[in-house]
């Protein structure tokens, strides 16, 4: 709280302010940023979109209609199934038709036809494959499913007959969190090294800055490739996940550390910092109470803009087969199965994870842009 310090003249003269104005003058920095952000419609839409996505992450088992590894041997490369509402002009509520498979003898491609004699209603809170929720209790309840005997592949299936929608929902868990975990790692590194560099200056500063420069002169993808090639092939999936996030953070922290240092150096010279020192504040107190708050908003903006780069980085690494690998399911892993022309031409629905990647990355960028405008009082 440091609102009262900025009270304008009229209040000092003893005249009461209009309510609205008083609210504005007394608002904290955080509140001001929030108000400015709300004016940025695209950024707000992105914020809600991302919040909704992240809210889904804990509940993927319940949300996905099928288990992540459930195979349907009779429905390989099944194209996205259509939901119908009317059967022969009669309203039935959402349902899907059954299907027949034939193999085209000329192209040897599987072809699926709707079998209109079979109809399966879609159900909310359907019973399906059992799973263990958060490792605590068994359940077989899914948000939606279809009557027994029917299949519900709203986004089609892949080469092993696994439901793409379910896999995308499961993939969201890893793809969305990898950016967050990665940014946390790089944030901590950035605060430590940037702080040391900016606070001590001199030789420490020089050494750290040179080191950062060296890391930054590597093109990031080759460096990521080289580092992830060093991960042993037979590593526990969890450790692979941790390893990849650390690798993604390796380059990202340098940019953040630089802005921490730059801001620290600039803010240190400000009058209020000198004032705090003169009034006998200890270095730790001055940094924590006066210097850090002055540029937290900048750090948050940089972090917001770094997350999408990490998500794209994970996608690229997994796509190359150097990042996460099955049994882990991320959007990048899903896309690595769609990396040839065949997929684009014959099974375009395998590319759907890209839509999720693009939307998420766009949302983060818009949000970051909006935050930057909101946090910068001169904008």
């Amino acid at each position: 709280m440091r609102g009262p310090a900025t009270l304008p003249m009229p209040a000092a003269a003893g005249r009461p302010l209009p309510r609205e104005q008083e609210r504005y003058y007394l608002a904290s920095q955080r509140r001001l940023i929030w108000w400015r952000l709300q004016r940025h419609r695209l950024a707000m839409a992105s914020l809600w979109f991302l919040l909704a996505l992240y809210a889904l992450v804990p509940f993927v088992e319940f949300l996905a209609p099928y288990a992540v590894r459930a195979r349907h041997a009779d429905a390989l490369y099944f194209p996205p199934q259509r939901l119908h509402l009317f059967h022969e002009g009669q309203f039935m509520g959402p349902f899907v038709y059954g299907h027949r498979m034939t193999i085209n003898m000329e192209t040897l491609k599987r072809e699926y036809q709707e079998d209109r004699s079979q109809r399966f209603r879609m159900r909310l809170f359907a019973r399906g494959e059992p799973y263990r929720m958060w490792g605590l209790w068994e359940s077989d309840l899914h948000l939606f499913g279809v009557e027994g005997g029917g299949t519900l592949f709203l986004l089609g299936t892949d080469r092993l007959g696994r439901d793409m929608l379910s896999r995308i929902i499961y993939g969201a868990r890893i793809s969305l969190t990898i950016g967050l975990v990665g940014i946390t790692v790089s944030f901590v590194l950035a605060l430590i090294f940037g702080g040391l560099s900016g606070y001590y200056g001199g030789t420490v500063d020089l050494a750290i800055q040179r080191f950062i420069e060296v890391i930054r002169s590597f093109p990031e993808l080759p460096l990521w490739m080289a580092l992830s090639a060093a991960l042993p092939a037979r590593l526990e999936p969890v450790l692979v996940y941790v390893g990849i996030t650390v690798i993604l953070g390796v380059i990202e922290w340098t940019g953040l550390a630089r802005s921490v240092r730059g801001k620290l150096l600039a803010v240190r010279e400000e009058d209020f910092a000198t004032g705090a020192v003169l009034m006998g504040g200890s270095p730790a107190y001055v940094i924590r109470k006066h210097l850090l708050p002055a540029f937290t908003s900048h750090l948050i903006v940089s972090a917001t803009l770094s997350i999408p780069r990490m998500i794209l980085g994970e996608t690229a690494l997994s796509f190359l087969g150097l990042g996460l690998r099955p049994p882990l399911t991320s959007w990048g892993v899903l896309l690595s199965e769609a990396q040839n022309m065949n997929a684009v031409v014959l099974y375009p629905w395998l590319m759907v994870p890209v839509v999720m990647v693009v939307c998420t990355v766009l949302a983060f960028n818009f949000l970051g842009d909006g935050l930057r405008d909101a946090a910068d009082p001169h904008a």
Binding site: Q209, P219, E220, A226, L227, V361
Partner: protein
């Protein structure tokens, strides 16, 4: 100016040394070495590994030496232009890398040119027509380019190029042209194939460039001298070109430092998707099979390419902008 150049050149030396050390450490990170990979491969194929031959190779390549000796051999070799020996290809690294590095360079240069050519008009238009619908639309397009994974764009463009233009898919040359000697026909053929990788790689950096040019130009346009010039009756076009644009153009030069690593990264993934004969696929293979000197020298060359690019862009910037010459010695 000369002082500035000298200062920067001197700074390059410790940077490059540190880069070589980091590279070497990274290359050594995976457990085991290429000969072990080779041995498991031979055993998997059912052949009996000739232990004596392996031992001979090990001494031959100095793999039995302590690490710092290996590093020293490699480093001094690099200085003499000897990039080491590729185990897998059984040829000197320089012989394998040469042409590929040239092609990587051509593709990267093309991508940077593409970024400039696209970002310049869009950035200027967006700044002069701030908040118009065209500004929003163009900015969105730029962001879309940023958000689309490179490999997807490459796949889609390959598909389009094949179905609409009938240009052979993948590679930088038509079949049969690859081995042809360099000549006009080959260069034309290269250009026909080059546009996809250039577009794909260039698209990711364009959004950032547009944003920076737009922001810089907007800042300049708000300054009092612009108002003065307008009040004196200078035509809008002349006014724009005379000063604000020239100052706003700085990021075009200074950003090469950020752009280069990005472009090289982009070229690697695109060339793997499109099987271009540039450096990407080879690096991937070398990293996987622990072909130490190939991967290491290669990573090193990429880093050197970037450092030199940044150095040149800093020099160009110093020539363009006197404010930077004044503060000579400060890092970029």
């Amino acid at each position: 100016m000369l002082r500035y150049i000298l200062h920067r050149l001197l700074l390059l030396i410790p940077t490059l040394l540190a880069i070589s050390l980091v590279t070497f450490v990274i290359i050594q990170l995976p457990p085991g070495d290429y000969l072990e990979t080779l041995m498991t491969e031979l055993q998997a194929a059912g052949e009996k590994a000739d232990l004596q031959k392996l031992e001979f190779l090990r001494t031959q390549y100095g793999l039995d030496q302590p690490l710092w000796v290996q590093y020293w051999t490699w480093l001094t070799g690099l200085l003499r232009g000897d990039l080491g020996y590729s185990f897998e290809y059984d040829r000197p690294v320089s012989a394998i890398i040469g042409e590929r590095l040239l092609l990587t360079f051509v593709v990267s240069l093309g991508a940077i040119l593409f970024t400039w050519v696209v970002a310049f008009p869009i950035g200027v238009y967006s700044a002069t027509h701030q908040y118009s619908w065209a500004d929003h639309a163009l900015t969105f397009l730029g962001f879309l380019g940023l958000a689309t994974p490179d490999f997807l764009l490459a796949l889609v463009l390959m598909f389009i190029s094949f179905t609409w233009f009938g240009v052979s898919v993948g590679g930088l040359f038509s079949p049969g042209m690859e081995t042809a000697p360099w000549g006009w026909a080959k260069i034309v053929d290269l250009l026909q194939h080059l546009w996809i990788p250039v577009l794909v790689i260039g698209s990711s950096g364009t959004a950032g460039m547009i944003r920076r040019l737009r922001a810089n130009l907007l800042d300049e346009l708000k300054k009092p001298y612009v108002v003065t010039a307008r009040a004196k009756g200078l035509s809008p076009g002349r006014l724009l070109v005379k000063y604000p644009l020239r100052i706003a153009l700085n990021p075009f030069i200074s950003d090469i430092g950020n752009l280069l690593p990005e472009v090289v990264s982009g070229s690697i993934i695109v060339s793997i998707v499109m099987s271009l004969a540039t450096t990407g696929p080879m690096l991937l293979r070398a990293l996987r099979s622990q072909d130490m000197y190939l991967a290491g020298s290669f990573l090193m060359l990429l880093a050197v390419l970037t450092v030199v690019g940044i150095f040149l862009s800093d020099l160009a910037l110093a020539v363009l902008d006197p404010r930077i010459r004044q503060g000579a010695g400060r890092s970029r």
